[in-house]
């Protein structure tokens, strides 16, 4: 049934008073952009779809960036759409109301392009819900040239295979860089005579960074492993390399101000993209390379504009490692000088465990007071932190904790992971011991007010990381470890929370899956799997049934150690990091070899090789990778990562052999360019 915006509004006036949080579905927020649908100047209409409810997607920075970018062009229009909560989904289905764009309430099927954001695996089933409510065939292969183009982007696309059957094209890398090229190709295709979906795919495949799954054939060996991934058409490259921005453009400052309370109800400014630390479990640290910083004046100006245009009472400076932002001290000082008196609260997530972080947070306190301080040591022993390449000395951790309590914060939150390679029950016991030690420090300083909160999740070995070959831990092992922690982490002053191992397993097979998992996702969705991120809708039995129906084994995907020579399902996708680099780091994992921050020393991860033209085009200080060119200052470059040291508990035979290069595990301020004195 064809619906007009007026009919949709009428239908909403019939049902919205019956659903939870109806303002999720009405749009019209401050700084949202509602263009005239029938304006002849508008040639292409894009729906930006976030496959979770408004409260989760409304604050997503990537969505805001693309929304701003597309709407700046007078020939384009972008609207938003989110996944409905099941109560509203019920009324949409009952009254046959199609899913619609929030801005002008046109049915989604009337847009030219539907672009899904795929930031993480828990949202995959929601994509199917949204395609279904739009009235589109789920499979790209079943859509005609009259249907909207359905694409995806975001870090979930770095292993595109599980969701590949549902999308016409998937963008690898940074959407800002590729979206206009993609739209241009679409516009040209639409003007050609005799166009078919197939010709659109072929033209899209020519755009660097665009993966068109239907143009590839995957064959399997008898063992079930992938034999080969082969392009079927000359336009489809054997390897799709991600796209990156040469220089980050100024941040979006006309942020959409949500009417209702969303998860991150504040202004967000990305100060830096990427991370130089090289933690081996961390996918973001690998796929968002190279590290690019925004100039501090640009960030400060953005803060002023955001306050004036949005009125947020909080601004958050986003990056993977705030302490590593070159100008972090200056940024914090100048922000508070200007806005501290106006009760502006400033968020600075992902601080390193060092006293410098406490100094920074102390400065921020001039805005609104926060009660807690969060750290992510990820492992509780020095040895295991070396294994994951997050070398923080235990003594530093306790000294930092003492500093935190001394300055009056009562809560320290610490995040750990279990299931790291080589982890033993002693390493898990150490989490409990460390929690108690930190609490003891707090008690000494603050008395009974002090408390610790411990969050434990299970390692999901992610594609494009050195851990991609590592199996996820067995459920019985995970449960035993959680039980141990539950037994030990109780009593006053200690709060312990952990992730459901079943939810982690779903994440694991979705992130590590191949093309065949698409059928499992579809079947599980038919059986009622949806909104996996929301505890009450998590439906593990649907997944078990789906695997049985399709004839696959979830443990084979999630818990199998993969040999280095196996063709991984995502191997035809390149994050710009060489397999050889990842493999070296994988080997170092088991040797206890620790590799330095790559700002100090380039290890040739691959980025500079793949993106040398862009490196040359960027100002020296815009990237943390060494500048290229004869006249540039040289920085040591190694062909392979050379460890700083080998952990003596892991590699007794190798320990000491590199001692001449760099001292053992460092303590004190790691951000060597910034002495705490600069803060005063």
């Amino acid at each position: 049934m064809a619906y007009t915006p007026k009919q949709i509004t009428r239908a909403l006036d019939r049902v919205l008073h019956k659903v939870e949080q109806p303002a999720r579905y009405t749009g019209g927020e401050l700084n949202s952009i509602s263009k005239a649908w029938d304006d002849p100047a508008i040639r292409t209409k894009v729906a930006l779809a976030f496959p979770d409810i408004y409260e989760l997607g409304g604050s997503n920075l990537g969505l805001q960036v693309l929304y701003d970018l597309i709407n700046r062009r007078p020939d384009l229009l972008a609207e938003r759409v989110f996944c409905p909560w099941p109560d509203f989904e019920y009324y949409l289905r009952r009254d046959q109301i199609p899913l619609y764009g929030l801005e002008t309430r046109h049915p989604l099927a009337e847009f030219d392009i539907i672009g899904f954001s795929l930031p993480y695996e828990q949202l995959y089933t929601n994509v199917l819900t949204m395609l279904d409510l739009t009235g589109l065939p789920l499979h790209a292969a079943d859509r005609s040239s009259e249907h909207p183009l359905v694409i995806a982007g975001g870090s979930g696309c770095y292993n595109p295979e599980p969701m590949s059957t549902f999308f016409d094209a998937m963008v690898i890398g940074e959407g800002e860089e590729v979206i206009f090229a993609l739209i241009d190709v679409f516009q040209q295709w639409r003007q050609t005579a005799g166009r078919t979906r197939r010709t659109l795919w072929e033209q899209l495949a020519r755009v660097p960074g665009v993966y068109v799954p239907t143009l590839y054939t995957v064959t399997y060996a008898a063992s079930g492993e992938i034999a080969a991934v082969t392009p079927d058409h000359p336009a489809a490259p054997p390897e799709v390399l991600k796209r990156v921005m040469t220089v980050l453009p100024p941040p979006v400052t006309r942020f959409i101000v949500p009417f209702i309370n969303v998860v991150h109800n504040r202004a967000a400014i990305e100060i830096m993209r990427g991370c130089t630390r090289g933690c081996r479990f961390c996918q973001a640290g690998m796929i968002f390379r190279p590290v690019r910083e925004r100039p501090v004046d640009e960030v400060l100006q953005a803060v002023d504009e955001m306050i004036e245009q949005c009125g947020f009472e909080e601004v958050s400076f986003l990056s993977l490692s705030s302490s590593d932002y070159t100008y972090v001290a200056e940024l914090v000082r100048r922000t508070m000088e200007k806005h501290g008196a106006k009760r502006l609260s400033v968020g600075l997530p992902s601080l390193r465990i060092e006293s410098f972080s406490v100094d920074l947070m102390d400065l921020l306190e001039k805005g609104r007071r926060r009660s807690g301080f969060t750290f992510a040591p990820e492992a509780a022993t020095d040895r295991l932190r070396d294994v994951i390449n997050k070398p923080i000395a235990g003594s530093d951790l306790l000294a930092t904790a003492e500093e935190v309590y001394k300055r009056g914060w009562t809560t320290i939150k610490m995040y750990f992971m279990i299931g790291h390679p080589t982890q033993t029950l002693e390493d898990v016991q150490a989490i409990a011991d460390l929690a108690k030690e930190v609490l003891a420090v707090g008690r000494r300083v603050l008395g009974k007010k002090a408390n610790v909160r411990i969050g434990v999740s299970t390692l999901v070995p992610k594609p494009h990381t050195p851990f991609q070959w590592v199996p996820m831990a067995e459920e019985s092992v995970i449960l035993a470890q959680i039980e141990l922690l539950q037994r030990q982490l109780r009593g006053p002053g200690i709060h312990f929370s952990w992730n459901d191992p079943k939810e982690t397993l779903v994440e694991a097979f979705l992130t590590r899956g191949d093309r065949r998992i698409g059928a499992v996702i579809e079947r599980a969705w038919q059986l009622g799997a949806k909104l996996e991120g929301w505890g009450e809708y998590f439906n593990f039995s649907a997944w078990e049934q789906a695997f049985a129906d399709v004839g696959l084994d979830m443990d084979w995907y999630a818990r199998r150690a993969r040999p280095l020579e196996e063709t991984l399902p995502w191997e035809h996708i390149s994050a710009g990091v060489k397999k050889q680099f990842l493999a070296q780091e994988y080997i170092h994992t088991y040797q206890g070899g620790v590799v330095d921050d790559c700002r100090e020393h380039c290890f040739s991860c691959g980025i500079l090789g793949y993106f040398k033209e862009q490196r040359r085009a960027a100002p020296d200080e815009a990237w943390e990778c060494p500048p290229l060119g004869r006249d540039k200052q040289r920085q040591p470059v190694d062909v392979t990562p050379v460890p700083l040291y080998f952990n003596d508990e892991m590699s007794p035979d190798r320990t000491g052999q590199l001692d001449h290069r760099v001292p053992q595990r460092r303590s004190g301020t790691v951000s060597k360019r910034l002495a705490p004195i600069e803060l005063v």
């Binding site: 019209g28 930031p119 828990q122 009450e536």
Partner: protein, 290 residues
């Protein structure tokens, strides 16, 4: 340092504003934040209370229910230091949130009494959308007549998770069909209710009791009546004062309107069982990687 020591600097402002269709579905809690942000954008020196998590000095006359627009809503807030009224009006006007209209801005001579405590009643318009001929006006009139003929109309509501029942009928002072507007395709019904602590007639409950809940509709509060206005009290002198005791029913049985809505959505076989919101937004925030 104690802001309570400098009352001379304080400026008490009352505004009359409209809450439009675009924002009728936001809750009172959200509307509070909407105004705080509006005042921040306008760079007005809103006074904050003391405390660990300071709250601004803002008070509304009466929170509007979700799905209800307001033509003349009242908001009091305190500024420090004072801002000249014309500049204040201009800055506010420039930074209003979508869906909000500014009707009046007024400076009060002294700290106002709690608006909520002064409430006595309100007028609403119930608008039912229907194409010409889709709903017979005679049906609407008949339902209204039946409603008014009753002495007791028991309704269920929820308070802190417990169901209680109350008699809606005495809280309704006026209810009549006022005609059909073909241009907007609107049937209009006028509703006047008592609005006092513990004894408030709610328009959505009236709509449901009339059996109109499945029609496309909008509800608008046209006027609030306050005890400190001679005009308002004169109008309400015609009506009895209904106390909470007069309308109280036995311990509640059955389901509240909200539970009723939730049941309907859950009965669908397409939906997995489970309650709403067992996992908080804050917990989900931890998952979100931005």
């Amino acid at each position: 340092m104690n802001e309570e020591q400098a009352p001379a600097q304080r400026q008490y402002i009352r505004i009359v504003y409209g809450k439009g269709e675009a924002i009728k579905f936001i809750s009172h809690h959200d509307e509070f934040r909407l105004w705080e942000r509006t005042l921040r954008r306008a760079d007005l020196p809103l006074l904050y209370k003391q405390g660990f998590n300071p709250q601004p000095h803002m008070q509304f006359a009466s929170p509007l229910g979700v799905g209800i627009t307001g033509a003349r809503e009242l908001l009091d807030f305190t500024l420090s230091p004072a801002v000249p009224l014309p500049a204040l009006r201009q800055r506010l006007q420039a930074k209003l949130a979508p869906g909000v209209t500014l009707v009046e801005v007024e400076e009060l001579a002294e700290k106002p009494a709690s608006l909520q405590g002064l409430l006595i009643g309100a007028d609403y318009s119930i608008v039912i959308y229907a194409a010409p001929g889709e709903i017979d006006p005679a049906l609407l009139v008949q339902r209204i007549d039946e409603f008014l003929a009753e002495e007791t109309i028991w309704r269920q509501r929820e308070r802190k998770g417990a169901i209680y029942s109350y008699n809606l009928r005495p809280l309704i002072f006026d209810l009549r069909y006022t005609g059909y507007d073909a241009a907007g395709e609107e049937h209009r019904i006028f509703l006047r209710v008592q609005q006092r602590a513990g004894a408030t007639g709610r328009p959505d409950e009236v709509v449901d009791a009339l059996g109109f809940d499945d029609f496309a509709r909008t509800l608008r509060r046209d006027r609030i009546y306050l005890a400190d206005s001679a005009e308002d009290t004169a109008i309400f002198a015609a009506y009895p004062l209904i106390t909470q005791q007069q309308i109280a029913g036995r311990a509640g049985t059955g389901r509240s309107l909200r539970q009723h809505y939730q049941d309907a959505a859950r009965k669908s076989p397409a939906l997995a069982p489970g309650g709403v919101g067992s996992r908080s937004i804050n917990e989900r925030a931890g998952d979100e990687f931005v």
